[in-house]
Amino acid sequence: MPLRLLKFAFSREYPETRMFRQPDRLQSSYDAVIIGGGGHGLAAAYYLARDYGMTHVAVLEKGYLGGGNTGRNTTIIRSNYLTPEGVKFYNESMRLWQDLSQDFDLNLFYSNRGHFTLAHTDAAVRTMRWRAEVNKHYGIASELVDPETIQKACPLMDLTCAGHAPVLGALYHAPGSIARHDAVAWGYGRGADRRGVEIHQQTEVLGITVRSGKVTGVETNRGSISTSRVLCAVAGFTPRILRLVGLRSPLYIHPLQAMVSEPMKPWLDPIIVSGSLHVYVSQTARGELVMGASLDPYELHATRSTLEFAEGLAAHMLDLFPCLSHVKVVRQWAGIADMTPDFAPIMGKTPISGFYLDAGWGTWGFKATPVSGKTMAYTIAHDRPHPLIESFALSRFANYELVGEKGAASVGH
């Protein structure tokens, strides 16, 4: 029993205060306005306040804190990407994750499980080797392992996958982890709030005013605000916000679904991903299996669930783990993923002065929450992109400077 829980039994009053205040009114101006109270927006607010002393900042969230993709994602955290830019960026995020629970004094259940990306074809084996080599080059623990190693780490897996897609090997990434998504939003939210940032929930941005190429303010359902700096961190809603300022992006929006089982006793430690079977799965501390698949194959700005998704994912789960036949699925849900053509994010400055963009997080942005917050805070504070995100600029699409991350991001989040 940790000592810090003692106070709950022995203090007369419940010894906790609000994690975040609920300001009843918007101020007429802020030094910066952040649109989107997901992990990314809150993290940017946190680092702006902590590292740059910018505290006269408002985070505007149309729903509730962490209610977007942050609260819907399957929380896989890893850095075994394919491009040098991606590997360095996500690796910095992994570094920040390590200490986050202690920094926040909030247990994020950051749980290091190890991450296997299965290869069922020789083409996949080649890609895994490529990733392993690039990763090792940048000092990231990643290696191509044989089926025996996989079986040892995961004894219940049917490596033949019911005979139709035998596992030939896997990319093993020891630092691969999962975390409690909501707590990440709350941790950043509380940290930002304590430093003076205002978090306004149920506050929707409806317009952005731009004068001579410069941001001057935002319109919300609760009134207007003047500000010279706006960060757009709204994931699946990015095209709608960009339309407000007349910017174009190559983002396309697809639903991404997931589902969760009833809790059972622990049997699965690592995170298992299979691109060929369109499956990934991990077991939470509560004992539930959190399962996901690839994107829905059509563009749609809606979070409806489909039966086909649950059917297909269930079939592939059983291909991998036949012993799950009696396990029940409790719930399915969906988020809307902001996909980029090269599977790398869009971060940094835009043609509109004072309008900063943090988007293109598709199916992979949760793990980037700390580093995106940190680098966007830098970018806003200096009005200059952080070196780690220079190659993720919106301008790369016009300039043919794509960051080819598809091989590492398509299913493996």
Partner: protein, 1006 residues
């Protein structure tokens, strides 16, 4: 099984110290037969629960059989491991989950008893009676809401705590040897799907069917009737009316009744999965009537979780369905009319009622009050149950402590008194079973007069009736059902775009079925709101104090409603508590989103039989007979190589390759994408989608074809053959076939050119015959003039080979004289056999994908996807020669123009290793390293038996791409191998072998 001895209504124990034998009072827990009971008293079922032998009747659920046998503790709670019994008896008793062999998390309240079941509660250490984990209950003051966020996060200690937390949480146990279960799925259709076969659902089904609709009626229970057969207030006549409705439904020719079937979700366009014990049926309805009723909600007071504290409806179901006495001496807590009915139901079954405790201070008069009084049942109005007291055996209640409650809901504990009892009923409210309505997109509003959310607007084709529609009284439910049944039928013929205001009239005034605040604070807590997650009243207060004071955040922080029952008994109370804390109305607080599934669904039901598409070429059996080792190429199975006894894989592959170089081989290339395009603008179309020129391609000739995406990246390649002025036949890569066809169709939908594209990939097949003897082999089977003058390199001929019409393409990926023979799929085996016979004298050798990869590598041909990646442009891949930039337009052209002005990052080159190289060779995707930086990677590498050295393709920095430049490849183990840039083709650089007549085979043979 008719031995009288077996009928003793108590458990037979295999253990001498069987705990129940010293409780004779429990012997009478089975009531005399009920009129329409669900049990079959002639069939006894024996089973064991945690090592003790029990029995029940066929038709019993696990819980009803155990309860009838006096077993009160059915499980332990998730967090504090408190003893729990029956609560809802309606498929959300999450604390009575059982393990039965492989089956985990079986819900005892609804799972039918089966002979020989060996049951144990999940998640205990050493069983429900002595669960050692119940120590956690003592620690509960240290475990506030969200305690796991507040501790255990010291970086070094977290792994230790996490392991511990994982071990003690989780419910059932996965059995590793469980086999894969495959079940059949079904598709079904109906005009009107009615969900819920209670009184309103039955009436709706009958009305719709009478009007002429084909109706499907589903209910999760073993029998239809719903609350109409157990919420009787002692009036058995109501059950009779319900029974007659059921009979009418069962005999109606246009109604199909599915019992024990859960409508597990609602999906777009009235697509509803119906899950029964054995399968999943996908029902497509034209209209859906949701008559799913309401869930009874618990009252929140200290120890409301003790075994013996039940929802009133649970007791009623026990009585009328299973003839089980829920208790002997009851205290009934009421806050609505239904509670009085329940009291009467107990009373008529001879259960003594110690007290009726009425939460409201001025209850609305109802006929049962007088009846209860006449039976000398004391009624305490304006009272609450402050606390339930546990019995000495710690497996149930021994008394209810009651006290007055003031207008603000504060219990006046100074006036408390204890009333002895062995059971408590709670009847304080209902929440609509609106999950499917929400999923269907209905908007609900809070109706203060009912204290309930009722449908406000319904999407087209969705209807609601009965309790979910706010209609509670028996006769009104029948009317509501009938109205809605008729309306749904009318909708079939005249689908209205919207269906607002479904609640045509609010029912005649009845007291609200839900009490607005049935929660009684207690300084020592243990007044549970969510039984799945062990959440107490104070947890909500504290969560709100910590800032989680909107419903979504509250849910996430406390985890209310996140357990397996998904909030069926807890969401409404949570919402009301939050309303109380924030001073808002429940309508303002709002509900959380309801998502599928209604009840959890087995993975094996969702998966069904789980077909995995697999494609075999027409020659599959031929390959098998020849010993082929198959590999997957997309969905196709292709021979990787043909195995030979006593030969290694590498030896087999090299032998096949040598046969092609020296004599003749053939490979099944039937998996290539094969497309045909016809029409006046066919050539124009091809010019737009491929980088080359095809307008000037002569009839009877073919040309390489390269396709880019709009960003100028290489995505596919193949060969285009012109068969006529307006007629082309062309190939794509194996993996690209379906996708490219789809993409071309998409483009032509946009462009509207006058041409049609047909995908012949499955209809046609192809064999590539290659090697210096190829022509001789083919000549034996055809009259076609094969001389190089009549049939030059890259020419195309329609011909008859072995009496089979074929298309001959003189092309060759492998770099020898060869023919790609395209043929109707069904004729391919005959063609293959004929070639084998004709080639026998030349030792014709079938070769697989690996030999082909090696042979093409010797020729320096790249494979799209292996030697290119998601960003490769033609210039980088050395394919610039295939791009005719001066065409007016092709896909990717504009991008290439922009890219042409930029330096390239890398270039694909051929390389070889020193011929003397003996060590571990590099593998594909090993990196090219220059001054400790990544400058490229190997994309193909193999040992060439012809050239007697390792050769390969690799991307390198452009400045390194000059012949004889030496560069470093780093192996996985860190070793460096030096490679030498070499111009390609490695083999036959001038393409002599494909063009010139090689010495005639007969001369060679001599």
């Amino acid at each position: 099984m008719s031995e009288a001895g077996l009928h003793q209504p108590f458990a037979k124990s295999t253990l001498p110290q069987e705990p129940l034998t010293d409780r004779p009072s429990r012997r009478g827990d089975r009531l005399p037969p009920m009129p329409h009971e669900w049990i079959d008293r002639d069939r006894i079922i024996d089973f064991t629960f945690e090592g003790t032998h029990f029995w029940g009747y066929a038709g019993d659920t696990i819980s009803s059989a155990l309860w009838a046998s006096g077993q009160r503790i059915l499980g332990r709670s998730f967090k504090y491991h408190r003893p729990r019994g029956i609560l809802s008896f309606a498929n959300h008793d999450i604390n009575a989950l059982m393990q039965a062999g492989e089956k985990l998390n079986l819900r005892a309240d609804t799972t039918p008893l089966e002979p020989g079941m060996t049951l144990a509660a999940v998640n205990t250490i050493e069983g429900v009676h002595n669960d050692r984990a119940s120590l956690l209950n003592a620690f509960s003051p240290f475990l506030p809401v969200g305690f796991y966020y507040k501790a255990f996060h010291h970086k070094r200690l977290f792994p230790f705590w996490e392991r511990l937390i994982r071990r003690i949480s989780g419910l059932g146990q996965l059995v590793p040897t469980t086999p894969r279960i495959r079940t059949a799925k079904r598709y079904d259709f109906c005009d009107v799907l009615v969900i819920g076969a209670g009184v309103s659902g039955l009436s709706a089904a009958l009305a719709a069917a009478a009007a002429g609709a084909d109706v499907a009626l589903v209910d999760e229970n073993a029998q239809a009737g719903g609350s109409g057969s157990y919420q009787l207030g002692g009036e058995l006549a109501l059950a009779e009316t319900t029974h007659q409705l059921v009979q009418q439904v069962m005999h109606h020719p246009r109604i199909r009744l599915f019992t024990q079937t859960v409508a597990a979700g609602y999906y777009t366009d009235h697509w509803v999965p119906l899950v029964d014990r054995d399968h999943l049926t996908k029902m497509r309805a034209k209209a859906v009537i949701i008559a799913s009723g309401a869930y009874e909600q618990p009252a929140v007071f200290r120890n409301n979780d003790l075994p013996g504290v039940l929802l009133a409806s649970a007791a009623q179901r026990l009585i009328y369905r299973y003839a089980v006495k829920p208790m002997h001496r009851a205290v009934v807590l009421v806050a609505n009319t239904d509670g009085y009915r329940a009291a009467m139901d107990l009373l008529t079954q001879g259960i003594s009622i110690q007290a009726v405790v009425e939460l409201r201070s001025d209850p609305i008069a109802n006929p049962w009050i007088a009846q209860l009084r006449s039976h000398h049942v004391p009624i305490y109005s304006g009272y609450c149950i402050y606390e339930a007291k546990t019995n000495p055996a710690k497996d149930g209640v021994c008394s209810a402590v009651i006290c007055p409650i003031d207008a603000r809901g504060i219990p006046q504990t100074g006036f408390s008194q204890a009333i002895a009892c062995d059971g408590i009923l709670m009847s304080v409210g209902w929440a609509p079973t609106a999950n499917l309505l929400y999923q269907a997109g209905a908007k609900l509003r809070f109706e203060p007069s009912l204290q309930q959310f009722v449908p406000d607007t319904l999407p087209p084709g969705i209807f609601a009736c009965g309790r979910v529609n706010g209609v509670y009284e028996f006769a009104e439910k029948i009317h509501d059902g009938q109205n809605v049944g008729v309306t749904a039928f009318e909708y079939l013929n005249n689908p209205l775009p919207s269906n607002s205001c479904p609640l045509s009239r609010l029912p005649s005034f009845t007291p609200p079925p839900l009490h607005p605040a049935p929660f009684i604070p207690h300084p020592k807590g243990k007044n549970f709101v969510d039984f799945d997650e062990d959440l107490q009243y104070k947890d909500f207060i504290h969560a709100a104090q910590e800032g989680f004071d909107n419903i979504e955040l509250l849910k996430r922080y406390t985890t209310v409603g996140m357990g397996p029952s998904q909030g069926k008994h807890s969401n409404m109370n949570a919402l009301q508590i939050l309303a109380q804390i924030t001073g808002k109305s429940p309508g303002e607080v709002g509900t959380t989103t309801a998502r599928p599934f209604f009840h959890p669904v087995l993975l094996s039901h969702l998966a069904g039989r789980s077909f995995t598409p697999k494609r075999q070429t027409p020659l599959h059996s031929r390959h098998g007979a020849l010993g082929a080792k198959f590999m997957l190429a997309g969905q196709w199975q292709r021979p990787e190589y043909y195995a030979r006894s006593h030969s290694s894989r590498i030896d087999c592959i090299q032998r096949e390759a040598i046969a092609v170089r020296q004599r003749v081989g053939m490979i099944d290339v039937g998996t290539l994408g094969k497309l045909e395009i016809r029409g006046p603008q066919a050539a124009e179309f091809l010019e737009r989608v491929y980088t080359g020129r095809y307008a000037n391609l002569k009839g009877g000739m073919s040309r390489y074809a390269l396709m880019l995406d709009e960003t100028g990246v290489v995505i596919d390649d193949g060969v285009i053959a012109r068969l006529g002025l307006d007629h082309f036949y062309f190939t794509t890569t194996t993996s690209g076939a379906a996708q490219i066809h789809r993409e071309l169709t998409r483009w032509n939908t946009i462009w509207q050119l006058d041409c049609g594209i047909v995908n012949l990939t499955g209809a046609r097949s192809a064999i590539n015959l290659a090697g210096p003897h190829a022509r001789h082999v083919l000549a034996q089977l055809t009259d076609c003039d094969l001389s190089s003058a009549a049939f030059p390199y890259l020419a195309v001929r329609e011909a008859i080979v072995a009496q089979i019409p074929v298309l001959l393409l003189r092309v060759g990926f492998v770099g020898e004289w060869g023919y790609e023979i395209h043929v109707a799929a069904e004729s391919t085996p005959a063609l293959w056999d004929a070639l084998m016979v004709a080639g026998a004298a030349h030792d014709i050798t079938p070769f697989g994908v690996e030999a082909q990869r090696l042979l093409r590598l010797e020729k320096g041909h790249l494979i799209v996807g292996q030697d290119t990646d998601g960003l490769t442009t033609p210039r980088e891949a050395g394919l610039a020669w295939a791009v005719k930039s001066d065409k007016p337009f092709f896909i990717g052209q504009r991008s290439l123009e922009i890219l042409a002005k930029q330096p390239i990052q890398q270039k694909l080159v051929g390389f070889r290793l020193d011929p003397a190289f003996q060590a571990t060779p590099p593998q594909e995707c090993h990196l090219v390293i220059e001054q400790d930086e990544i400058v490229g990677r190997v994309t193909s590498v193999a040992y060439s038996p012809t050239l007697k050295q390792f050769i390969g393709l690799a991307y390198v920095a452009p400045e390194m791409a000059t012949p004889n430049h030496r560069f470093n490849i780093r192996l996985s183990n860190g070793e460096i191998v030096t490679a030498i840039v070499t111009s390609t083709p490695f083999y036959d650089p001038d393409n002599q072998r494909q063009k010139e007549t090689i010495a005639h085979p007969s001369q060679v043979a001599a």
